[in-house]
Subunit: 237 residues, 2 copies
Amino acid sequence: MPTVSMEDYLKALYHLESRTPRVSTTALARWLHVAPASATEMLRRLAAWQPPLVHYTPRHGATLTPEGRRLALRIIRKHRLLERFLHDILGFPWDAVHAEAERLEHAVSDEFIRRLAALLGDPAYDPHGHPIPGPDLHLPPVTDTPLLHAPPGVPLVVKRVSDRDPGLLRRITELGLHLGQRLIVLERTPYDQLLHLQLEPGGGRAVVGPRLAQSIFVQQVEPPITPPPAAPLEAHR
Amino acid sequence: MPTVSMEDYLKALYHLESRTPRVSTTALARWLHVAPASATEMLRRLAAWQPPLVHYTPRHGATLTPEGRRLALRIIRKHRLLERFLHDILGFPWDAVHAEAERLEHAVSDEFIRRLAALLGDPAYDPHGHPIPGPDLHLPPVTDTPLLHAPPGVPLVVKRVSDRDPGLLRRITELGLHLGQRLIVLERTPYDQLLHLQLEPGGGRAVVGPRLAQSIFVQQVEPPITPPPAAPLEAHR
DNA sequence: CCCACAATTTAGGCAACCCTAAATCTGGAG
DNA sequence: CTCCAGATTTAGGGTTGCCTAAATTGTGGG
């Protein structure tokens, strides 16, 4: 695999921080497919940066500093705008844009990105539904949840899908799912091993396993003010 | 300055070979702004490649092998298509596209270039008038000559300009010159120190020194047999 | 024909990445 | 409160580039 740059480490830290406030060396290494020792080395470098890009306490993980977060978001902006370009203008399928953008994001200048954003009409989301940080690097709040944890019986919309695994994206497409797709969770088998879905409109059916259900993010369609008092099917978490 | 990759060495060798069949270490090093020792090192590596990318005789310079030339042309194709894109679609001024393309050419995939070429309508020339190798890496024969050596008194057209020096490009623009510009060499002072030009139509005048005159390539207007290929899309800004 | 000088290569180092194998911590089970 | 397994870091190397300084070598002028 191609070598991983400092920028990739910042991006990875940013993504991982949304799950755990402190990111462990191992989690970082696994995310980037490098050896733990390589992650340690880079964390030391990032912490030694002037100004520091991470707070790093050996053996206790790391967090991005504001400056580190700023740099991470700049790259994420580049990445997602490039994905829009690759998809909308060059016509790449959505399972191919990630890998291509991954290489380009390190090569494009800020000026390039300014012009590209203007050309694309300052899009707010990438082809997988991830929000694109604005020029000021702001992001809208997250309002979707993994399909895996979505309540059954209520109408949902697909808002976002993970993009790192092309195979996953292809499977999602094959299931007839796409951004904006409406669906309802009909039934979940014990331990969330399988989710039975009804796609709307058209009433198609689909069954997804937990890995897929964790990679698809949905939102309720009629934003509920009052949760239905009727006893719902038991909710697993 | 950013680090220079193996691909850059191949490109440099390709360009330099059009001047001297055998390229010296020093010429290569100067072209890439690296120390001679760095060029020596890379020549050894390129010659040790499997298959060899250069024929290298220590102390007597190097030549590209067919395989090396093929790789060089692939990158040049990427570079020039990217320049067209940056200029025509993103609106970069023509003195800025080279530097940007220089970074991007190493990051884009072949698939990206296929799609980009289609989007652009398979252009034959980059914004500076350099021919773009086709997918088969073929190039049209060179039919232009440096303005410096153009005959006086006959109508000429600007066909191509060197692109490595943004300052030069800016000066060319300021002089009122652009691709397709018609002109006549009125007079050359001894030793080609200065060329007096008449621009047509409009009859403007310009005086250029030898450096500029060597960076501008022209062709006589009443073309011998072959009609000039379609000029690249509109002129730069 | 020789020798000095310019061109080139060699020697020895540095930076950013990577890895494996061998220490060394840390935290949770008992 | 101990002890161990897993997590992490350290040690020692590798690769692609780059550089300076010190040999070399080839060649053109005398």
